[in-house]
């Protein structure tokens, strides 16, 4: 997936979000770290479609992980930044890639600790399959069947990449 493909996918997703969320007050929440820049881009697309900028926030799920006791050391905790009441809002959770679904499970648990959203939608740029939990995205940029030994990497200029692209590479030496 190249820069043009990513842009097209985000534009389409923004239109779909607008349709799905009709009437409700929107908030876009990026899941760190892969979802943060995508959330900001979706927010800009939505602003150009609807004329008003939705609220934006960031979730770091480290404190909600299910594998703390299985890891050699405690994972790094980044900042969570939700400066608005989520109660009553239509919240769009944004991540770059959905795989096992465990990150989304953690993000949902964390989100509801901030309040009771009217509705939660899940937007991902890439669905690579391989779910381990009954979780499905509402908005998908691209569906790719990626074998377990490989990983999907979304590179964005905001994250320091030379150009936007989605690449598939062997797992491990990330």
């Amino acid at each position: 997936m190249n820069a043009e493909g990513i842009e097209r996918a985000l534009k389409r997703m923004a239109r779909e979000i607008q349709e799905l969320a009709r009437g409700g007050e929107l908030a876009i929440v990026g899941i760190r770290r892969g979802g943060v820049h995508l959330a900001e881009r979706l927010r800009r697309e939505l602003a150009s479609v609807t004329g008003q900028k939705p609220l934006v926030g960031t979730l770091d799920i480290a404190l909600y992980r299910d594998d703390l006791s299985e890891r050699a050391s405690a994972p790094v905790v980044g900042p969570t930044d939700i400066r608005f009441p989520v109660t009553g809002k239509t919240v769009v959770l944004v991540d770059d890639v959905i795989y096992t679904g465990r990150t989304v499970r953690a993000a949902l648990d964390e989100l509801v600790d901030f309040g009771r959203p009217r509705r939660v939608l899940l937007a991902v740029l890439v669905d690579r399959g391989g779910r381990e939990l009954p979780i499905a995205p509402d908005l998908v940029g691209a569906k790719l069947e990626v074998p377990e030994r490989e990983q999907v990497e979304v590179q964005l200029v905001e994250g320091g990449a030379a150009e936007d692209q989605v690449i598939i590479k062997p797992r491990g030496n990330a």
Binding site: D60, A62, L63, Y64, R65, D66, D67, L68, S69, E70, R71, A72, S73, A74, P75, V76, V77, G78, P79, T80, D81, P85, I98, Y99, T100, G101, R102, T103, V104, R105, D109, E110, D113, F114, G115, G130, E132, E148, Q151, R171
Partner: protein, 342 residues
């Protein structure tokens, strides 16, 4: 694990990077304190035991609160209501509590070295909550956190403003090059030691000030300058840490009386106005002896960041417990990627 360390005994053994890692983690933990629901499920099923052989309300409550916000089970054990009064030794007490499978033992003890002694003999992680005149690392860390918040807050504004306590994300780089005066009974103060190690590792200069009878020998070798005049110590300082004068020391040969102490080494509004820079912050580890080391006007005044210290203390202790209780200590292989990030 805090970097390479399984236990938190003091700030002296920690590297600059390990200290910065803890402080940065505390920033995320402080955000949790501001949420509508102040609870995260992180340490569910983990147990933290507070083992206190010395009186404390602030530190014990702070560790207990930190554990509970992280969903760990917290148990308090204080020597005055325990079998210590029946003659049980420190090691027997620790071993018996360890048999109940805690993940972290938080220990306060009047003897310096007690937490290290226990850490060498038990399987779980140990956090020092103050041992004798040795160290009080969580206090040192919360002081660093509070100072960085203060320096970040006043840093952008020339001439600076104190008193307006708007939220800032602390920049720990602001500590480098600053001068911090620590005033009081240095020789009996574990806070002074932990502050000194933490501040010098982050590049600050430290001035120790107090009566000559309360200045331990050889502190210059630890990296501090020694002053016996309060004015000389606090003039030009970016922050002043006033230590508590322990009542049990008053009247003994170290200081003749509280009035004399207050006259020479106490800080009141008049001295603060005349000697301190406009942006100088005042810290105190608590509990304050009002009118002895600090007058009420100063303790409750705009320069005081004493209540920020208490709030930051919870965030810092959450970071400590997260690193000590999180992760499987005996397993060295990283978890498979599928479990790590979906």
């Amino acid at each position: 694990m805090i970097g390479r360390h399984k236990h938190l005994i003091g700030l002296e053994p920690l590297s600059r990077e390990e200290i910065l890692g803890l402080l940065q983690l505390a920033v995320s933990m402080k955000e949790v304190l501001r949420r509508p629901i102040k609870k995260v499920p992180t340490l569910r099923g983990k147990a933290v035991v507070n083992l206190f052989f010395e009186a404390s309300t602030r530190t014990r409550t702070s560790f207990e609160t930190a554990a509970k916000i992280l969903s760990a089970d917290a148990f308090n054990w204080t020597s005055s209501t325990s079998s210590v009064t029946k003659g049980e030794t420190l090691l027997d007490t620790a071993r018996n509590i360890e048999a109940m499978h805690p993940d972290v033992l938080v220990i306060r003890h009047p003897a310096g070295g007690a937490p290290q002694y226990v850490a060498n003999r038990v399987g779980c992680a140990v956090a020092n909550a103050g041992d004798g005149a040795h160290e009080h690392p969580s206090q040192g860390l919360l002081d660093l956190f509070t100072l960085a918040e203060h320096f970040t807050r006043v840093g952008g504004k020339p001439g600076g403003e104190v008193g307006k306590k708007e939220d800032v994300v602390p920049d720990f780089g602001t500590i480098a090059g600053k001068t911090v005066a620590i005033v009081g009974d240095i020789s009996h103060s574990r806070v002074a030691r932990s502050d000194l190690y933490g501040l010098t590792k982050l590049g600050a200069k430290v001035r120790f000030c107090g009566p000559p009878t309360m200045m331990p020998p050889g502190v210059e070798a630890m990296g501090a300058t020694v002053h016996h005049q309060l004015r000389e110590a606090v003039e030009g300082a970016d922050a002043v840490v006033m230590l508590r004068i322990q009542h049990e020391r008053i009247g003994d040969p170290l200081i003749p009386g509280t009035r004399e102490y207050s006259k020479f080494w106490g800080l009141n509004a008049k001295k603060a106005a005349e000697w301190l820079t406009p942006t100088c912050a005042i810290l105190h580890p608590g509990p304050i002896n009002r009118g002895v080391e600090l007058s009420s006007e100063v303790a409750d005044g705009p320069r005081s960041v004493i209540l920020e210290q208490v709030e930051n203390g919870v965030a810092v202790r959450m970071a400590i417990l997260y690193l000590l209780a999180g992760g499987a200590h005996e397993i060295d292989t990283p978890a498979p990627e599928g479990a790590a990030r979906a």
